[in-house]
């Protein structure tokens, strides 16, 4: 277990965070001054720059999918030899890496769609369809390969109930691990949301973002906190509590 931080360490870290925030604020102010134009115009220029990449926003997604496909093929090649423990672990690791890249690609495809909004609609829609189809196909094939390693697993990626079916076919150790992944995500998002909200609030002061952006991020944060707290209350005191 890690030793608890001393009061001195806590104070130093706190001051460092304040100093970094001050530097960031000063930097933002300098950028704003250097721009030599109104904040709205600067933001419009930045947005134009983002939109300028057009369909090229899909390229990183394609790279992720190439990696995912490569790991899937490498993992699949190991499947006939997985009677041995070492080969089993290798296949499991490779297929898991394939899922990591395809999962990131699935989210990224939607981000790319939003960012390439100003590109000619034809190629963008076509690239979106190709990336989404590639993602779902590679995920489906990877899940089928994982089911060879774990025949007890249930669920199809084509089904909207996939996550529930998969979780219910996991044993106690796997469910405990999923709980740990979720908790880590919760902790990280609990840092990301406040930073995003402060950033948006600052940008809103300079009319660089619309109030809707602040509302949207705030709403997502509220949903996360509410779901966590309500679920905790239900599990501990409600009808859904575990026995």
């Amino acid at each position: 277990m890690k030793a608890e931080r001393t009061k001195k360490q806590i104070a130093i870290r706190f001051l460092l965070v304040i100093a970094v925030c001050a530097l960031l604020g000063a930097g933002a102010g300098l950028v704003r001054l250097k721009a030599g134009t109104s904040a709205m115009e600067w933001m419009a220029g930045f947005e134009h720059l983002l939109a300028g990449f057009g369909p090229w926003w899909y390229l990183p997604g394609a790279v992720l999918l190439v990696l995912s496909t490569g790991y899937y093929l490498a993992g699949k090649r190991q499947l006939p030899h997985t009677e041995a423990e070492e080969e089993f672990q290798t296949a499991d690791r490779l297929l898991e890496l394939s899922m990591v890249f395809s999962n990131i690609a699935s989210v990224y495809a939607i981000v790319a769609m939003a960012l390439s909004y100003f590109a000619p609609i034809g190629p963008s829609v076509l690239l979106l369809i190709v990336e989404v189809a590639w993602t779902v196909t590679i995920q489906s094939k990877t899940i089928n390969a994982i089911k060879v390693l774990y025949p007890e697993k249930r669920g199809s990626v084509w089904d909207t109930k996939f996550s529930k079916d998969w979780y219910s076919s996991c044993d106690e150790a796997e469910q405990q691990l999923i709980g740990q992944y979720c908790y880590r995500t919760f902790l990280i998002m609990n840092s990301v949301y406040p930073v995003a909200m402060v950033l948006l609030a600052l940008l809103a002061l300079f009319d660089m973002v619309t109030p809707f952006a602040c509302f949207l991020v705030g709403l997502l944060w509220l949903i996360q906190q509410t779901v966590y707290m309500v679920t905790a209350h239900q599990k501990e005191h409600g009808k859904a509590r575990q026995r």
Binding site: D92, Y150, C170, D171, E174
Partner: protein, 70 residues
């Protein structure tokens, strides 16, 4: 006090592979592997199921090392 076990030894004696033992106790092959390596401490329910498969008591399969008298 780390929890040790003789799972691998009893499994080999019983002629079971990890997948087969997992199926008998409702756990995955990976979980059996994790328990054998000492990377996961099973619940009492799972420990009892495993011990029952081998016809042993839980204490014969799982034991604490560096145990002190209480």
């Amino acid at each position: 006090m780390p929890l040790e076990n003789r799972l691998k030894e009893f499994r080999a004696a019983g002629g079971l592979n990890q997948q087969e033992l997992g199926s008998l106790v409702g756990a995955s092959r990976q979980t059996i592997s994790l328990i054998e390596r000492g990377d996961y401490n099973p619940s009492i329910t799972l420990a009892l199921k495993i011990a029952r498969v081998f016809g042993k008591s839980v204490e014969e399969v799982f034991y604490l090392t560096g145990e002190e008298e209480v």
